[in-house]
């Protein structure tokens, strides 16, 4: 469960991205929709504990992300749109770090590496990898352990067909285990039938569309409108 209470956030003073945002996201697939620059990625960063709210509370499973930093992040997996892995680490370094912090055996890191097709690149430094390979590495890090809150920012972008299928299968699997999966995306077709709610950010406020229409074509119309930033 992700909970935002009265969250304010601005990158620069006087230019709020979120202002008094209050939101609750329970288990199931949630789509985060809206036009470019509306604050989708910022919302995910705040939920992932990458950025700290200027005011208000951001909680994961009841733990404040900034009071109980380790506890709140224990079951969290975040895949950013830009795979910002530190350039002086190797893929294996990164996955070992994630295994250690999530209390998982190193084998699960190697398994994730294999699933992402990166086993031969494990000793390469991040600087030697292409953007697609870096995205795979971040995705592999999300596959380690069994996170209950999963935040994915444009997860299908720049992935090949096989990897896309693998990601969608994994999402289906974790949803089956009762996880909360939040996906910020412009590619709604792949998630249309699985999602249970849609969230959009407009004027610094978050709006939740729940329950969603049952029919796929009605959902599609709703999502298209949300993607264009239209009021429902």
């Amino acid at each position: 469960m992700i909970r935002f209470t009265d969250v304010d956030y601005a990158y620069r003073p006087g230019e709020p991205v979120l202002s008094g945002a209050t939101l609750e996201i329970a288990s199931g697939l949630t789509l985060l929709l809206g036009p470019n620059g509306c604050g989708k990625s910022t919302l995910l960063k705040l939920a992932a504990g990458v950025e700290r709210p200027d005011r208000g509370l951001a909680e994961i499973d009841g733990c404040d992300l900034w009071r109980d930093e380790v506890g709140a992040r224990r079951n969290l997996a975040y895949v950013p749109e830009q795979p910002d892995l530190t350039p002086y680490a190797t893929i294996r370094d990164v996955l070992h770090l994630v295994c250690r912090l999530r209390g998982e055996p190193m084998e699960s890191g190697l398994k994730a590496l294999e699933s992402a097709g990166l086993e031969k690149l494990s000793t390469r430094s991040i600087r030697e990898l292409s953007m697609g390979q870096r995205r795979r590495a971040v995705m592999a890090a999300a596959w380690i352990g069994s996170p209950r809150v999963i935040l994915l920012d444009e997860p299908l972008e720049s992935m090949d067909r096989a990897m896309r299928d693998q990601i969608l299968l994994w999402i289906e699997k974790v949803l089956g285990n009762g996880a909360s999966v939040v996906v910020a995306t412009h590619e709604i077709e792949a998630f249309l039938s699985k999602c249970v709610r849609a969230v959009t950010v407009k004027g610094g406020r978050c709006t939740v569309s729940h329950p969603l229409p049952r029919k796929d074509d009605e959902r599609s119309v709703l999502f298209e409108a949300l993607l264009r930033g239209e009021s429902i």
């Binding site: 900034w66 930093e69 992040r73 892995l85 350039p87 600087r127 030697e128």
Partner: protein
């Protein structure tokens, strides 16, 4: 060609602005430490522009002229072999544009010289136009010598020789010929080779990443730290200092060495290994990140205590008490570097103040652990409050950019 030159000119100006504050801070600090600062400035101007020119002063000038392009070149060449190569620009144009940028980077030095020139003129010293031309040639020679070109083993010595001929020999015709020859022999900008894969090790990932990011720069940090201690050793030996004076000198220079070391390390570490936003989503607290940085900086700085102890054992212990405080302070300042044009200068100033305090009031070391704790919490607060995804161009360095794979 004009567009390329303008592009590199702008890059050069931006980097020159970046180096302005640290350079002037150091110059002002050095001058203010003199008994009569005004007389010192007048003396420097006289030695530089009066006849005969002081060889020592010319040497310092030459060193500074070469340091600026050497510092800036890696920042300027990132990406030149990547996306830029598809643009319709010849290799020679890129090289000349880069050379222009490396000349422009020396603007802070040129401004300092202009101030000294005005001081020399006010003293009634005749400034010869040929000396000014020599300075331009030195600046150009320094820029060419820093260019990462294919035939650098041939072009760099020629440009260095050209610069030295102009400065010391006043043979500007020979100097121009050497610089032209150096430019003609330079060849294309060198392609950056892919790095070798890293080896596995069992040491903490934070330390490993820091070491890889710093690389040989750590040697520069230790060399910088050795300066005050070397000066202290010579001063104590030549002046025959004993007792409290000896201890005070050792304390001041020991702590100053630590401050210089930490400022250099934190500045470099911040540029090469900036905040890693994604890692903040892992169960890794800001406390732990700050502790890892403070430990990494503090343990490396602890090596400086050995030469301090060789000068005066008691003073080394006093500096040891202050070390955690300085390490935590530099860790905190690292968290604010992105937003500052002045870079690490505020830490340098605070550290300088603490060194003074430590020299005059050594028992203040008793309070240092408590202050270290406060500095630690300050750093932790700054870490958690950082807006890590905010793009602040002015402190950006492609080498530490996780999204740059051309660096």
């Amino acid at each position: 060609m004009k567009a390329v030159l303008l592009f590199h000119l702008r890059v050069g100006v931006r980097l020159a602005l970046q180096s302005f504050t640290p350079l002037f801070s150091v110059i002002v600090a050095i001058i203010m430490f003199q008994i009569n600062p005004a007389a010192t400035i007048a003396w420097i101007a006289r030695s530089l522009f009066g006849l005969p020119h002081s060889t020592g002063m010319l040497l310092i000038l030459a060193v500074l002229a070469f340091i600026f392009p050497a510092w800036a070149v890696s920042r300027m060449t990132h990406g030149l072999n990547a996306w830029m190569r598809h643009l319709p620009i010849s290799g020679a144009s890129t090289r000349r544009g880069l050379m222009l940028a490396l000349v422009v980077v020396q603007v802070p030095l040129a401004v300092s010289l202009l101030i000294l020139l005005a001081v020399a003129h006010a003293q009634g010293i005749d400034i010869s136009a040929s000396f000014l031309l020599d300075l331009v040639l030195v600046s150009t020679g320094a820029a060419i010598s820093a260019l990462p070109v294919k035939n650098r083993p041939a072009s760099a010595p020629l440009s260095i020789a050209g610069a030295l001929f102009a400065l010391f020999g006043n043979h500007w015709l020979i100097s121009i010929a050497l610089l032209l020859l150096s430019d003609a022999s330079a060849g294309p900008i060198r392609v950056v080779q892919a790095r070798r894969p890293w080896r596995e090790s069992k040491i903490s990932i934070s330390f490993r990443i820091a070491w890889r990011a710093l690389g040989w720069r750590m040697i520069t940090a230790y060399a910088l730290a050795a300066l005050p201690l070397g000066c202290a050793a010579l001063f104590i030996r030549n002046s025959g200092l004993e007792g409290p004076l000896l201890a005070g000198t050792a304390r001041f220079c020991g702590s100053l060495s630590v401050v210089l070391f930490l400022s250099f390390m934190s500045e470099k570490l911040n540029a090469q290994r900036p905040v890693w936003p994604w890692a903040r989503s892992l169960p890794w607290s800001s406390n732990r990140r700050v502790l890892a940085d403070a430990l990494s900086l503090g343990l490396h700085a602890a090596v400086i205590l050995i030469p301090t102890a060789l000068i005066h054992v008691g003073s080394a212990f006093v500096v040891l008490f202050f070390l955690p405080l300085l390490a935590c302070m530099s860790t905190a300042h690292m968290r604010r570097l992105r937003e500052r044009r002045s870079g690490i200068a505020p830490f340098l100033m605070e550290g300088l103040g603490l060194s003074g305090l430590l020299t005059l009031v050594p028992w203040a070391a008793v309070l240092a652990p408590a202050a270290a704790l406060a500095a630690y919490f300050w750093a932790q607060r700054l870490d958690s409050r950082q807006k890590v995804t905010l793009w602040l161009e002015r402190r950006h360095r492609a080498g530490g950019d996780s999204l740059s794979w051309s660096a």
